[in-house]
Symmetry: C2
Subunit: 222 residues, 2 copies
DNA sequence: GCCTATAGTGTACACTTGACACTTAGTAAG
DNA sequence: CTTACTAAGTGTCAAGTGTACACTATAGGC
């Protein structure tokens, strides 16, 4: 026990809620815990912050170690710190919210022999710690930001058709949208450009392929 | 040094940005530091989290100890954790954002002989640590929430006139508003009720006094 | 060449937002 | 008591925005 302090210190962890779209459903990435407490239960990827590491770097490192995912859009969500939220010691968890395009779904099991898997966001298994609460907040944040920002672009591959983009909005907002109104609106934002390519995708008229002008940016709109 | 851990632990603090309206200006509450580091500099009220205390409780306790302020609207803002943000040791700061009606402005110097004072939010002195960055974020949050929530009510006393409320919106949004349009809009929200009282306040027609129907609630609007 | 499936396109109506000026009710001064 | 002053209170119209809605275009498969 070489690390000593005059006053008690809590431990600090980061936990990340990663969402993606897969099989026309919003999916959340979870890992199965290999150690107690809550051994065998599913939990958010995350872990202890290193002492000289920035919070966001820690979140990204844990995510990569446990799931292989990297280069995702990530933002801070909330900090959870109920004194009894972990049975081992006092733990403050700085939580993050991340989005992955379907193409980056190639998730590998982590080094500590944990199992990682995607679950439909509305059919989650029993969760460790207060992670159900964290996920609820993350889902609310995603739903809210869908309405007034371009965050949905973070779920898209590099190029896509307008129909594919509309489908993503429909899933996130759980409602069908009018095709003409959606196109009028999304094009009026001037955030897309045509690549000049077409997608031939079955026995019907091919679709123009678009690209986000600023793929790394999330703009506030409306 | 009685508190030992197998791995190094950061310290956790809470810091609070409290805003109020005073002399027709948005004001921020600061304390002058009595101890190094940054001795003599102004800083946000805040301090170390106790080991068995919830984050929000810690923020409220520090605020009360250092400034006497209590019973304010408070929400979590962001968690700051750059490894070098405090020269003493690694410190994670969970920051909060609070609003006080002018009537609760009676601020007393804290127990540890610190000095507390209100500063106009756009004329702040030199600040300790990364507190300038925290305050910038808090001001952005307040400006944004003014547009799509009823957070401005948290700056109002229990009863007020529509002209007083309009004046608060004008200060927060840094623009003048049309009197008829403002009244039409704010009354259409159905969040105010007339008290039946009138305010006689100079040599002119007296104003109806209103009260918020749900003074503790912040609703999303628009 | 005919069938089918998705891509792509314009207009009309309802509603919301924003601009704008005068009357009312009190106080104070002569 | 009359007048002057100040802030409170009130409605309409025009422009812009959002929403509903149906047909044509182009490819593949047979």
């Amino acid at each position: 026990m070489p690390y000593s302090y005059e006053y008690p210190h809590p431990a600090v962890t980061t936990d990340i809620a990663v969402f993606s779209l897969h099989q026309q459903q919003l999916q959340l990435l979870l890992i199965r815990r290999g150690q107690p407490p809550y051994k065998g239960k599913w939990a958010l990827p995350g872990g202890f912050l290193e002492i000289d590491e920035d919070l966001e770097s820690g979140a990204k490192r844990e995510l990569k170690e446990e799931t292989g995912a990297s280069d995702l859009y990530i933002e801070q969500l909330f900090t959870f710190g109920r004194p009894d939220r972990d049975p081992r010691e006092r733990i403050i968890s700085v939580t993050y919210f991340a989005l992955a395009p379907a193409e980056k779904l190639s998730i590998s099991a982590g080094s500590d022999a944990t199992e990682a898997a995607w679950f439909p966001a509305d059919e989650l298994p029993e969760l460790a710690f207060d992670h159900a609460e964290i996920i609820l907040l993350a889902k609310e944040r995603l739903a809210a930001k869908t309405l007034y920002s371009t965050i949905a672009f973070q779920l898209m591959p590099e190029t896509f058709t307008l129909s594919e983009l509309q489908s993503v909005y429909e899933i996130l907002r759980s409602e069908t949208l009018d095709k003409r109104n959606f196109r009028k609106w999304i094009l009026s934002l001037n955030l897309l450009e045509e690549t000049g390519e077409m997608r031939r995708n079955g026995n019907h008229r091919p679709a123009k392929i678009y690209r986000a002008l600023f793929p790394d940016r999330v703009d506030m709109i409306r």
